[in-house]
Amino acid sequence: MEFVYALAIGVLTGSGVWLLLRPRTFQVIMGLTLLSYAVNLFIFGMGRLAVGRVPIIDALRQADPARYDDPVPQALVLTAIVIGFATTALFLVVLLASRGLTGTDHVEGEELEP
């Protein structure tokens, strides 16, 4: 599973980076979205993959750390998701403002290339 997981991160990162380097603001925002998926998965993966070990303490497993997934990366991802959402929203509005003021959706604020 780790291999598939890593591959997924790689594909998301690659697609995100590709889009990030594109000239249109919409491409960039999509790139940021994909990258944020990749980064969230990356952070999450730092706690190692664990199937069926939801970190919610139950009577059966008691508080044995070995029986639960590492909660810290999960908490970090939660924060990262929220911050990612916030910044996506902000970037969207800025790209709209840029589009409104400059008349183009090129990241440079002017048409430079096809």
Binding site: L35, G45, M46, P73, T87, L90, S98, L101, V107, G109
Partner: protein, 554 residues
């Protein structure tokens, strides 16, 4: 009432947070109340910062005898809980931020009619973010506060809108968003290999890492370092800076001048802790290691200086000053050694005051131009014949109105600070920097045996000073003495005061270099030997009054 002193380290975050939030409860029309709140919060912030500086100097031995205050949020024992740490370095930077914030706020208040919605709240939040970043003792918490300050800086950079600002803001946001991803990858990789986020704990764990983990850890640290370099405005990751800082509203830009220092601080702090127990192959991971910092710093310095010379817009020039100062700092830190660090910290303080004042001043100066007028180029060289004897040496000068005189003198003062000419603190800073390099070489060692870096730094520091003189002279002449139309600007005392205040502070800094350096020497020493920091965060030796804060768990 509860005793608030034990909570001193968290107040720089809580005060602006509460103030910024409370202001939102007021309707937009109630400016007076908002202003009072903003001023009160900023002043309180200043008081707290002063207290923390005094604490770091050992003024609160009952609570923090070592001068390092570790505040355990939620009462959780580090490394599990989040800890905020105020030591000499953090406290100094907090004070700097508080001073700058007060000045910028005062400046902004003078023209509050121009403020967009929620300016005041965003302003408090950026102060909170910067303070938090300086206090963070936990890598992820550092990330969060960097995000707080970035998010508010996005808002403030775009404040007032306009094509230039939007274009610059767009780049700024995208680059920093990408930078945040890099930051996250770095932090999480560090967590994944070391199992901790607490910076002090990290310092203890790094030496015990297994080989495989160490390689990955170093990769993570290196990635993290790149994120810090981006925030620090280091070449080649700083191209967003001139446009953004050059286009931002001046009080905002003034506050931004300390924002790049967050990156520098993070590099220093994390680098110091990672260097606490050097890796077997020597030194901290790449971006934290001294040769890298030195090289990057030099390149940054070069770019900043070239930018100062090439730009024709005053505020952009100041933005390049910020880059120059970042470059000088990185190069200086890259040279290593505690004396160098304290000298560089002095330089940091001086340059932050300088660029802060300069940003605000540059806007006032900009008002001398009729709306829409460009700063024009001087006439071609050949147009003027040297020593034209037919040009009578009897002429009538131009009366300079008081406002212009103030601006002119302010410009000169800022230029002196930036270039490092006497008598302001910029000169003292350069003196200290150069003087500290001589501490590195053994006395009486022939020049040929000096590390080449020292010569390079000398050449860079002196050369960039000279080029700055040329650049600022050119800009000053263009701004104040050009033949074009000059409108005597309307200045408000409230605008002039912060600029004058910051400049006076720099005078005070120059005059008080003795005590300032006594203090910064401690900061530099602590950076070079972070055991005190680590012990204060994790250690056993905790003040008795604060058993709750100290005691692990509940």
């Amino acid at each position: 009432m509860t005793d608030w002193l034990p909570h001193l380290p968290v107040l720089p975050v809580v005060i602006p947070l509460v103030a910024g939030a409370a202001m939102l409860l007021l309707a937009e029309a109630r400016r007076a109340e908002r202003t009072v709140m903003a001023l009160a919060a900023t002043l309180a912030n200043l008081v707290v910062a002063v207290m923390l500086v005094r604490m770091a100097g050992g003024a609160l031995p009952g609570l923090w005898p070592d001068g390092v205050a570790a505040y355990r949020l939620g009462g959780w024992q580090p490394p599990f809980g989040i800890v905020m740490v105020a030591d000499a370095l953090s406290a100094a930077l907090l004070l700097l931020n508080a001073v700058l914030a007060l000045a910028a706020l005062a400046y902004a208040l003078a023209r509050w009619k121009r403020m967009g919605p929620h300016f005041q709240s965003l302003f408090q939040f950026i102060v909170m973010g910067i303070n938090g970043a300086f206090l963070a003792g936990d890598l992820f918490n550092l990330f969060v506060f960097v995000e707080v300050l970035l998010a508010s800086s996005y808002g403030l950079a775009l404040h007032g809108s306009g094509v230039l600002r939007i274009k610059a803001g767009l780049h700024y946001i995208v680059v920093n968003l990408a930078g945040s991803f890099v930051f996250l990858i770095g932090v999480s990789l560090i967590y994944g290999t070391s199992g901790t986020l607490n910076m002090a704990d990290l310092a203890l764990r790094v030496p015990r890492l297994q080989d495989g983990d160490r390689v990955l850890f170093e990769a993570g640290a290196a990635i993290l370092g790149v994120a810090f370099l981006l925030k620090a405005g280091a070449w080649p990751l700083n191209f967003w800076l001139p446009s953004t800082y050059g286009a931002a509203a001046p009080p905002v830009a003034a506050l931004f001048s300390i924002m790049t220092k967050v990156g520098v601080y993070a590099l220093l702090r994390v680098g110091s802790l990672l260097g606490a127990a050097p890796l077997p192959d020597g030194g901290a991971p790449a971006p934290f290691s001294e040769p890298w910092l030195f090289g990057i710093g030099l390149a940054t310095l070069l770019l900043g200086t070239a930018g100062m010379l090439a730009t024709r817009q005053p505020q952009r020039l100041v933005a390049y000053c910020v880059i120059t100062s970042a470059g000088t700092l990185l190069a200086a830190f890259g040279l290593g050694g505690a004396p160098m660090k304290s000298a560089a910290l002095f330089y940091l303080a001086s340059s932050v005051l300088a660029t802060g004042a300069f940003f605000m001043l540059s806007e006032m100066v900009g008002r001398t131009r009729p709306a829409g007028a460009e700063v024009e180029e001087e006439e071609p060289l050949d147009a003027e014949a040297p020593l034209d004897p037919s040009m009578p040496d009897e002429d009538v000068g131009i009366v300079i109105p008081a406002a212009m005189a103030f601006l002119g003198m302010g410009f000169v003062a800022c230029a002196l600070l930036v270039t490092g000419l006497p008598p302001l603190s910029g000169f003292v800073a350069k003196f200290l920097l150069l003087s500290a390099t001589l501490d590195i070489v053994p006395s009486a060692a022939p020049i040929e045996t000096w590390p080449p870096a020292i010569g390079v730094l000398w050449a860079a520091v002196l050369g960039s000073s000279l080029v700055s003189v040329i650049a600022l002279c050119k800009m000053g002449v263009r701004l104040f003495w050009n033949s074009g139309e000059i409108v005597t600007p309307r200045l408000y005392a409230l605008e002039a005061m912060p600029v004058a205040g910051l400049l006076l502070l720099s005078v005070a800094l120059a005059a008080g270099v003795g005590p300032a350096m006594d203090y910064l020497d401690r900061a530099g020493r602590d950076l070079s030997a972070p055991q005190i920091y680590i012990e204060a965060v994790l250690g056993k030796d905790v003040p008795t009054d604060l058993t709750d804060i100290a005691g692990g768990g509940r």
